[in-house]
Subunit: 696 residues, 2 copies
């Protein structure tokens, strides 16, 4: 267990003039518990694991060594730690889906490569056996995958097809005579690519391929993408098995502790029973059957198991952001540069621009943390079976598709801003930030490219919108009219929200309007109205597509792709804001509640400020009101400044997690030493006179 404090030995009091000193400070321990959430104990245990140097990344380690180190870490995790929670109790697991992910997310503090390689082994490879396979596979293949006797690859992506999995080229054609599937790579673009464990460690793979079979006397039919358990290397010699070959993907921009590689198959035969047949099976005679009649729905059901990857990336990205902010805020609270109006140099965080760079990101990390907790709860509900309905699954997938892009892009922005806020020191690998950023980079394009995921969300929003219209029993003409009216209405500022805001504008009292901006309902209305209006506007714009040729409809859709993505992002941010607001409602301690309300307001108003042009163009805010958004943010930043250290301390990371010399307190010690030197020099009378004083 890690019990040392995050605070450097000689932690300076929050800086700023005495008048800024808060009388009430947040209850850091209680806030830490709130942030640790429903799986606090499991998170603490996982953080204790990452406090062990053997589980920590060594920056600059050559890739070959790094890969072996991470494999070793995986083996230690399996042998000593509680990493199989998500598996069924009958296989030695704990049927704890949410808790399992919470633990894995924390591994990012040790080494993101460890988090991702664990995800490949247990979250993808073993999970595919569990979720796509049936009893036979659970008995035969799952123990080896769970206990790492069989490191495995999840062979879905191909060089030619990443996001569009339905179009992969690998085929698995059934040979009824031999009762075997023949797995084959027909061209270079169909090579499996980017697979963790494929370059070196994997001895088996779950291979996704187009299942082709013929019922007796029938034609050959392609039943779409299915998964096949496929041994790839001799476990003893580690040589590829006959018909299988591959390549190493080589050095990457980060995550070099993972041996990503390529695989291709030259008519490789596996037994019929190696088909992971939960959602589609082939009888010995070649007859295909599936519990899901629609090939499209079947495909998306199989892909649905991928959601846990997205959930855990969301959590890991938020954790990485918090580590980066804890480093940068702690340093910014100690580092001084340039003399201010007084005699001493000014702490970086006492510069307006520095606060503006970092504090809104702290607010964002809070929002993302609370939103992730809700995602984790939804995930656990579905995967535990407690709330496993098609609607709940769809909601879960939409929520994951909304939050994963938001938090992973947020992490890149946050870590980079933190790195720049630490100047050149932030660029030294020893201070962690460049390594975290490099490793997190690919989070925005893997396990669902962020742009593609936002489009999924947007389509769901459009679908819900259409359904709400259908519920009104409108025919198509009515719908167009309804949409048109709604948009016109919005444009004419006649929605309730807009009425409220306008009324305020009419009062013309800046102080009262600030009062309203920090009003929870006003923020909610502003954020909600934006999503709803954007969706309605796009729906209206796309309405003519129904009667168009596919080409023209595609072109029309393309024209609005950017708007769709913006709408999805707005939806995701609103979800984060709502989660933050719900979490806030549970805070009892008045000081903590006050400070956290400011943080929530900073988050909400930063979202409004970022999209200020939209609110102005669409008549939601007057120019005068828009100005107050920025000035209220500026006031919040000043108010939050004395609490900045508390807010990042509450993330609960200790020095063994931060591991950045610049946030260890060394900077503060150096400054004390320098001050003592100059003080002694002045006292001794040996200080030279500055030239300007001589001449002056």
């Amino acid at each position: 267990m890690t019990t040392t404090t995050a605070r450097p030995a000689a932690r300076p009091a929050p800086s700023g003039a005495a008048k800024d000193q808060p009388t009430d400070r947040v209850d850091v321990a209680a806030l830490e518990n709130l942030l640790l959430g429903q799986y606090a104990q499991l998170r603490r245990e996982a953080r204790a694991v990452t406090a062990d140097p053997d589980f920590q990344k060594i920056e600059g380690m050559p890739a070959a060594e790094h890969r072996e180190r991470v494999l070793h870490q995986l083996r230690r995790l399996e042998a000593e730690h509680d990493v199989l929670r998500s598996f069924p109790a009958r296989h030695g697991g704990a049927d704890d889906h949410g808790g399992s992910l919470a633990r894995f997310e924390e591994l990012v503090a040790g080494d993101p490569s460890l988090q991702i390689k664990a995800g490949v082994q247990w979250g993808l490879f073993a999970s595919a056996i569990l979720h796509l396979g049936t009893e036979y596979h659970h008995e035969t293949f799952l123990p080896g995958a769970m206990h790492l006797q069989v490191p495995g690859a999840f062979a879905m992506t191909e060089t030619g097809h990443g996001s569009d999995v339905a179009s992969i080229g690998t085929t698995a054609e059934y040979d009824a005579e031999a009762q075997e599937f023949v797995i084959h790579t027909p061209f270079r673009g169909a090579w499996k690519d980017y697979l963790g464990n494929a370059a070196q460690h994997g001895t088996a793979a779950v291979v996704f391929a187009q299942l082709v079979t013929a019922a007796p006397g029938g034609p050959k039919v392609n039943h779409g993408v299915h998964a096949f358990y496929t041994p790839i290397r001799d476990p003893q010699t580690h040589e590829f098995l006959p018909g299988i070959a591959g390549e190493d993907d080589g050095v990457k921009g980060g995550l070099n502790g993972i041996d990503n590689g390529r695989l291709h198959f030259d008519r490789v035969r596996v037994p019929r029973t190696n088909l992971l047949n939960r959602y589609g099976d082939v009888a010995p005679d070649g007859t295909y059957s599936s519990p899901i009649a629609s090939p499209g729905r079947r495909f998306f059901t199989m892909l649905g198991t991928l959601v846990q990857g997205r959930v855990s990336l969301d959590g890991a990205a938020v954790n990485a952001s918090k580590i980066a902010l804890a480093i940068a805020v702690t340093y910014g609270n100690q580092r001084r540069q340039f003399a201010g109006g007084g005699s001493d140099e000014v702490t970086l965080l006492d510069y307006g621009q520095h606060r503006r760079r970092l504090l809104p990101l702290v607010a964002e990390a809070y929002a993302a943390t609370f939103a992730h907790e809700e995602l984790l709860a939804a995930f656990d509900d579905v995967f535990s079976g407690r709330g496993d309905t098609p609607e709940a699954r769809e909601d879960l997938e939409t929520l994951a598709a909304a939050l994963k892009p938001t938090s992973t892009w947020g992490a890149l922005r946050t870590i980079q801003t933190a790195r720049e806020a630490c100047g050149g020191q932030g660029f030294l690998a020893e201070n962690r930030l460049t390594g975290l950023r490099a490793d997190l980079d690919v989070y925005v394009t893997f396990e669902g490219d962020n742009t593609v995921l936002y489009q999924l969300v947007a389509k769901r929003l459009l679908g819900d919108y259409a359904k709400s219209l259908t519920a009104l029993q409108s025919d198509r003409g009515d719908m167009a009219r309804f949409v048109a009216e709604r948009v016109a209405d919005a444009a004419l500022h006649r929605t309730p929200l807009v009425r409220a805001v306008q009324a305020l504008g009419d009062l013309g009292d800046a102080r009262r309007s600030v009062g309203r901006l920090r009003d929870e309902e006003t923020q909610r209305d502003l954020l909600t109205d934006r999503v709803e209006t954007m969706v309605a506007q796009v729906a209206q714009a796309l309405a003519p597509a129904r009667t168009m040729s596919p080409e023209k409809a595609a072109a029309l859709f393309d024209t609005h792709q950017h708007d769709l993505i913006e709408a999805a992002a707005a939806h995701a941010e609103r979800v984060q804001w709502e989660a933050f607001t719900r979490a806030l409602a549970g805070v009892e301690d008045p000081a903590t509640r006050q400070v956290l309300t400011w943080v929530r307001d900073l988050f909400g108003l930063s979202l409004v400020e970022r999209n200020l042009a939209w609110y102005l163009i669409n008549g939601r805010l007057s120019a005068g009101r828009a100005r107050t958004v920025t000035s209220y943010i500026d006031r919040l930043l000043v108010r939050l400044r004395p609490h900045a250290q508390d807010l990042v301390d509450a993330f609960g990371y200790r020095q063994e997690h931060l591991r950045a010399p610049i946030s260890s307190g060394a900077e503060h010690e150096r400054q004390e030493q320098a001050r003592a030197h100059y003080r002694a020099q002045r006292a001794s009378g040996a200080a030279p006179i500055p030239e300007k004083h001589v001449r002056g």
Copy 2:
């Protein structure tokens, strides 16, 4: 020389329907010449150097090897290539300051570590001897520095002080008896830090220290920061000389071909004559003298030589952006994913969002290139002595301080967007983007932190503004009134620009207003008016500071720090736009001129769109007009799409510069192969029937 073509063997024609096919395409060769600019021949020669594999970065190479490789490259450059152009002819150079920088900037295509290590050796270490030293130093120390017998460090930055050089702690106290300076590090924060060549290769350093001396009978006076030529290692044994010690800065987020390190001095003695004494000298008896009476002006004059570093970072950042865009646009023009309305999959660049991500960055790279050419010309004017006036120096320093942050931050945005646009492939080191981004990262905080540089620019803008008021011979009361009126005027939309835009708004004709938005004068007015108004507003807000206590004045200034930085950024962007517009005026070929005008418009309107809220709040654009900004950008993106490949081909980088398999044409070949496979399968009748067709 590199004469191979940048186009892959089987380069596909620009995609899109035939109607989108431009009848007139740009003259790529002529455009390449335009972009290569005034030093085209030197740039071509430098690009030929980087086409040699021996000058190219090997991704994943361990730092220790990488450092030796880059030192070897430096030695080859010195021995075989024309790298001493900036030095005086009498020392074997060519007195060609602009041309020399143009060459060095191109080295970024080989390895940014090479560019920066060359910058340390010749641009900082040798240049300091040249520019801060006098005849004795030129004779004694310059040859070794120029010809690399003496690799050297530029020992300015300290752990405790980066941006605030004036406050460094290292002292050089004159000992008149011994006629020596005693260089001393009084505390840990005064260690020299982050010095290239300090960890391993350097045998000497130019050490910046507070010069302390006493005239005979006088008191000890600190004359501020001066530079001292200081041997640090035994050239034979490479051991530190007595009294000197240091540390390796270790692995960094990038640029690991450079041996950054720390140095500290324990009363190290150097001869009096090792003071680089152009701007300040100490007579044998200890008497200090300087041609510049004001210590402040003297300090900034000495630091003025740093401007060449900023100029070359601006150029190198623009080059790195162009390489990244050439890779991503070429790939996006070939890679297909998801079927569109037609039968074939859609090229990435035919997705609206993909165009929106990449093409405005192409426009930005054009603008940054043209602006850099003007910066280079200004630099050459001053450093050649042709136009070396205090005003010209000040203008040069302001221009460099404006463009370096803009282009280096632009490069990080551009390279990252390019990387994400290439999906997972963009994350493979072999495709260059992650390595370029990692190496360029520190460009935003070194050689002047971007935030600090923007503040310098803002102060100059405020100063100019104040001068323009002084020129009106206003007394202080008048000035306040003038500012107040000007701002009120602006707020009431009574400036000429605003009148024009309003009049347009009154017409209410969207098509005409788009016509006006692409009008050069409208863009200029919008961009110029924003800078002027922001400066006037801040000036007004800061006016009360004159009568405040230093503490209160500093607090007031701090409140507006963010606005100041925004104003500086707006100024820099306007400078880029003006440079683009001037370059455009020289283009003769009608098709090239037309396309380039669209690119310029895209750049200008993207700047307006990015700051749309400002234009709305300040009454410069009506809501309706603001909408047309975005819709005109959308139209420009569609128009420019067929020219995208030509526009990046004109950057003039060949495959040996891009060195990214994804932009080599391999993707196109893979697709042809896949198509041929499916075609043959269909022709043979062996293609399986899709399940949905069976059931349908």
